[in-house]
């Protein structure tokens, strides 16, 4: 599966966020997460490694989480994590891939 190098991860946040509540953010990205250990079934050639390596989460400019991803995750990863909605601020997710691609997306968290 070819991936689009310029794609943005899809992020889902709850619609109504109360100040101080802990909300779950879901991030989805299309990526093969190829380990480099598999062989092509027809040509018997090894499939080169191509995986996401790092995911960093920024909330209001500050880094709040850093995830080290591995090819042990499924194809097209769907990652959910939690954030304490302390303020209205942008939430940015940045992912890096073993081929040097960078995937970034920002959503605005508005607290009420």
């Amino acid at each position: 599966m070819a991936i689009v190098e310029t794609q943005k991860p899809k992020m889902r946040i709850p619609s109504d966020i109360k100040k101080g509540s802990i909300v779950e953010i879901k991030v989805k990205i299309e990526h093969p997460m190829e380990s480099g250990l598999r062989k092509d079934r027809d040509t018997k050639k090894p499939i080169p490694k191509h995986t996401l390596e790092k995911m960093v989460v920024y909330y209001g400019g500050e880094q709040i989480s850093e995830f080290e991803l591995s090819p042990g995750l499924s194809e097209n990863p769907l990652i959910g994590f939690k954030v304490k909605a302390a303020k209205s601020a942008p939430l940015k997710v940045s992912m890096t891939c073993s081929e040097g691609n960078k995937f970034e997306e920002t959503v605005e968290i508005k607290v009420s």
Partner: protein
């Protein structure tokens, strides 16, 4: 006198022989360590009695939420969470997810800060066969703690 001396030396000889036998019995076990012991190099404190957790254990041991049976090993949903307060000076630093039998045991290392509000991660992982999925949570004050869950995988997906 002679007889006593002889019996003593015989006793020490037997002791030495027994010790030698014990050592040679242990060494091959170490050399032929099963794969899962290598994967278990990373580990943490486990619950002494999983049914009666002490307050400290209940606070630190990660809960691994995974289906009992997975039909497709290439896509197994998993949620790991720790019921621990995330205060500025006392929080869960990281969660490491791994399984015992896959070619790639690591399922990611997830680092948190108090701004997360809760040490929680939900994702989807690949599993090759029926195994034990483990999560190791590290508290900034109380070290590493381990929780696990067993899963049956009908079709492997690695």
């Amino acid at each position: 006198m002679n007889i006593i001396k002889e019996s003593l030396s015989r006793r020490t000889f037997l002791k030495a022989a027994a010790l030698l036998g014990l050592i040679s019995a242990i060494i091959p076990d170490m050399l032929l360590m099963p794969k899962k012991l290598f994967a278990a190099a990373e580990s943490g404190r486990k619950a002494a009695d999983p049914k009666n957790l002490t307050p400290e254990e209940a606070m630190h041991i990660p809960k691994v939420d995974i289906p009992l049976i997975a039909e497709d090993g290439s896509l197994v949903p998993i949620i790991v969470s720790v019921n621990h307060p995330m205060e500025t000076d006392h929080y869960i630093k990281s969660i490491y997810i791994l399984d015992d039998l896959s070619a790639i045991p690591s399922k990611g290392l997830y680092r948190f800060t108090p701004a997360n509000g809760e040490a929680y991660i939900s994702t989807r992982i690949k599993l090759a066969e029926s195994t034990k999925v483990r999560a190791i949570a590290e508290c900034n004050k109380h070290g590493k703690w381990e929780g696990s869950a067993d899963i049956k995988v009908t079709v492997g997906g690695c």
